[in-house]
Symmetry: D3
Subunit: 245 residues, 6 copies
């Protein structure tokens, strides 16, 4: 599942027909119940028989493994198009790793969110611990839910800024997500995708570096036909149509 | 307007008679409606006739242009004195660039805030994308309003932490801003301006670097007469007056 | 007091019998009223007679002094175990330095929180200015309370995300803190302490660096007995007991 | 060629039978004459007809293209095994990009090294400008050869520290490379590959971060059987054989 | 002198008729004897009467002063065109600050180079201590000459990589500088100036950041007419002429 | 030995009677033969019986151990006074860790330098891999000697910039070291120690950050009596005596 996540998002990233991505869970019960930990623990580098490798070599392979999983989740962040993550039902462990890598997070009121890794004896290593300190939520709250692995719902998630909206049920969640997606899809893809790239760069750099990168970037992007189209549409009160990217 | 913004703030920065700056919009209608984009698009490097320069040279000049605009907004941040930004009415585009560069943001309840750049076909490049990820707002919310270019009001701005207070109307906004300004103006300018400098440095550095810079900085600043004055005033229950800076 | 703070937390950090630390103030009145500034101003490098040293040498010694104080507060952050800070009553100055270095912050409703340093003529230099920009609170709000040195209570602290919960009185605060502490203490210490270390590293680094460090770290930590224990307990519906660290 | 470079090095990176990689050019004339610029300029995103895309969209695609080329050269650096680059004859443009991504650089005396990109109207963008400032060569010398695109030989390259040795001819170059490779191949792969990973991390981070990462890394790696084997071999004066990785 | 340094270089930076800058000293005796320290010590913020300001306020003004001096020297680095610094005779203190901000350094054999600040009781603060650790010279050597404030000549400077060439006398120095300048001036200014910008960015960032910035930058710059001109000239064996920038 | 290294250097750092530190090896044979690896491997966390701890807990303790060793070597770098390291005879492993943490490195011609860790199955983790990439030596050369663990002498060390001078024998080495030490000891300690602090900060930061830190630092330090003393001495041709620090 994880490796196809990377394949799919890397394809969406360059597909000119895609302008925004909605990521939701199939069925009523869950967005994702997280990794099958007991499976992972009995196979893969962790579960491999101790005779084969010494401890260091096992650690080395586990590291390679973690990097591969991280790479899959990173695909959501490196996807050039904005990704809206819609969570409902059980949304444990990997669900949170995936959600924090998305641009916008929406959920239902009765979603069951949980950073569950500590419950199974390990620290999250697929993204939550690296991204959650950077998405504008209270550290005191985040560490509380991570250390205690407690479940939290949609209202708390919205109040803490983990999601920007919560909805009554899955149906209205999908509607809300679709509405936002449509709203984004009619915008200039050059502008939208530039904003994603520039925000994410700025997150990890000083304000000065963010500004410098933005100026270099926009030297080209401001020359898109989209700017003129948008201005003309504004003057003529028409709806502009922007070319693919 | 933009270049005089830099001139004014650079002067306020070193003017010993200034202790705090209040930035508000004239009139009832708007704090700022943003850049005159159609003007900018038909003049300047973007609007210059294509014959003159090849694409690369145009990009080069647009970059120089963006750096100049950024430099103007940066003047608010590099102003040694705290800047309180009071927003009312239409507060679009450049209004948000300016506000995010200020120290404290207040607004009216019916303010119309909007990161509007994507609506006109470009990604914000004068500060919003570089500073907003660093001012303690929810990323999910911020990306939603940026990608969709939707308008939000004072209540939402306060709830999301974009402003720290909202007021019923422009009059009470100015009163509230003035009250805070007076409260700051009676404090030691060495202490207040040091706090601004050290917070802004810390924002862009590791905690360890922030502490190191603070310790080097305060080696001199703790030797201000202000500390003794403040303590004596505390003992004698008098109001201290602090020298200019 | 400050130097014993470092000694105590450095000991707690490596003590295998400790799994989580609760930090609260004795008595009813205060968590901490901050440094005895008038004492500090008349002794130590600041108060030393001017004849002894020139200005530069005094600044040098004040810097050494500040680094020593910072080191004491840093002990809370570098403590391998999670630290829960419980604040009630007067919680001024150093109280906030200490609290921002903790992992989780709880307080009473009637707590009197105040970043008070500017009131006494100096910029905070023991941690508040370096850590508060990184704990997920609104910058506009934080700068307002720092520049004005105004007092804020438990409700405001919770609303702004400075604390994650507030309680009616000191008794319920201690109960709430203890409940969370117990909940953490029964988890795998390898997992909990790894989460603290990885979160704090990620705070100060890019997402990519955070992921890289996490993958290197977990190469070893995923091989703890705790993972198997936790999974087996999950299958057999028993409560696992995790070894010391 | 470039995309197979990535494929090959990514495979070598995890292949347990490989301990060190020697990279040299076939034939007598050249290590590499660089990219076929006239080919690249008439095909790919640069050469694509202007009608298809506006300038911004072309810039976007050129950026994607550059990232793909960079990714290919990065494969040399991210290859877990040390890479020794052996240069002879014409070694222009991409040759230098590739060489700077390797761990060790050797060359013949009559090698013709040249950072040639500026000669063809563009700034190097596949690695030279990002890596050369970090490999311990004089900036004054490097900028001189880059701006002027002048050719330099083996003696100058060695004197400036760009290569660590130069040899009389290609034959002795290969011998010298092979000798070093053999010397590395008999060492513990855990130790050798750790050293590469830790050096490269440290290059891009503060000394303090480098030390922190190293301590986390070696917690696992010091527990390799290799340490005991190496010590026993030292005592018994035997040659140890280390397991694959 | 210092403030006109900034004015001049900022003008050269955007002047389309300038392609490269040669910076040399008038007369036979000196490139620069450094700041007139005794003058600076009796005037300016350092020399101002103590009555006016307390120590903290004096420190504040000295800092503003230092930032202004630094800004002047920075103008050499932020000048978009490459700067070649030609040193002869006495080249003390500020001479080294200026030289380290240039792109290429040449000198005469009998130049008298000296980081002289420590001799007059202060640590260099106009650039040497911030730039010299980044120009590829041995730290052991650099700290030796800085701490001891000893004079070193052209041969030592070349051997240590501080300069890339040394010449017998001032005349041949100027000739050598002019030759390099001409060689650079006939190249594409888009390519040359891009290389300067990208190298300097990469110096201060990780390799990964350098590559990312380069890819964004070149999206526009590779579309310069210069690339086609250069390639055609290569095919037709003619000398291309590149447009201004 | 290692823990007393920290104690001694931390004391020297604040001792006002010390102005510069010379670090050399007793006896004729060795500066240091490195850690007693076979001892370390049979005791301490590495050698502890496997029953006591699982792999993860062992890794955790090895990490604590490495941090303690690193802290000891760091004491040389954090020592406020310049440290000159004089190497002769066997200088293996820890010798190089120690030397790279010093400010200036001198050695004898027949010194036997070796980064020996890989020979004993592990990657250096006490400083060499984190500091050597930052001291201005060729990466190609450094990686060659690290991967191969080969011995190199004084001439090669000097040519590569690892040391700044080499001497015929231990006696002349000590003389040379003493001469430099005396030269530094008569300088202003405010100036000398500031230079060390500012250089080391700049090494790990951008040029812009280095300049900013320097300006804040020198606000106080330029006000030392030393500047006036030095200038007066210059005018009166006398030798100044500078106060302790």
């Amino acid at each position: 599942m994880f490796s196809s996540l990377a394949t799919i998002f890397d394809r969406l990233s360059h597909d000119p027909d895609v302008r925004v991505v909605l990521l939701s869970g199939a069925g009523d019960k869950a967005f994702s119940a997280g990794l099958d930990v007991s499976g992972a623990a009995s196979s893969g580098p962790v579960g491999a028989p101790a005779e084969t490798d010494d401890f260091a070599r096992r650690a080395w392979k586990i590291r390679r493994h973690a990097l591969a999983y991280q790479n899959a989740v990173n695909a959501i962040e490196r996807c050039e198009k904005p990704v809206i993550c819609l969570m409902h039902g059980i949304s444990y462990g990997a669900a949170v790793d995936i959600a924090t890598a998305a641009d916008v997070r929406y959920c239902t009121e009765d979603v069951k969110l949980c950073v569950r890794e500590i419950e199974v004896g390990l620290a999250p290593d697929v993204g939550t611990l690296s991204r959650m300190p950077k998405i504008g939520v209270s550290y005191s709250w985040a560490k509380e839910v991570i250390y205690s692995a407690r479940v939290f719902g949609g209202q708390e998630a919205a109040q803490q800024g983990f999601v920007s909206r919560h909805f009554q049920d899955k149906e209205s969640l999908l509607e809300g997500g679709l509405l936002l997606a449509k709203n984004i899809a009619i915008k200039s893809p050059v502008a939208v995708q530039s904003a994603k790239a520039l925000w994410d760069f700025s997150r990890d750099h000083t304000v000065q570096d963010g500004l410098l990168y933005t100026a270099a970037w926009n030297g080209a992007m401001v020359q898109a036909d989209d700017v003129k189209k948008a201005i003309l549409s504004g003057i003529h009160k028409t709806k502009p149509t922007f070319g693919k990217l």
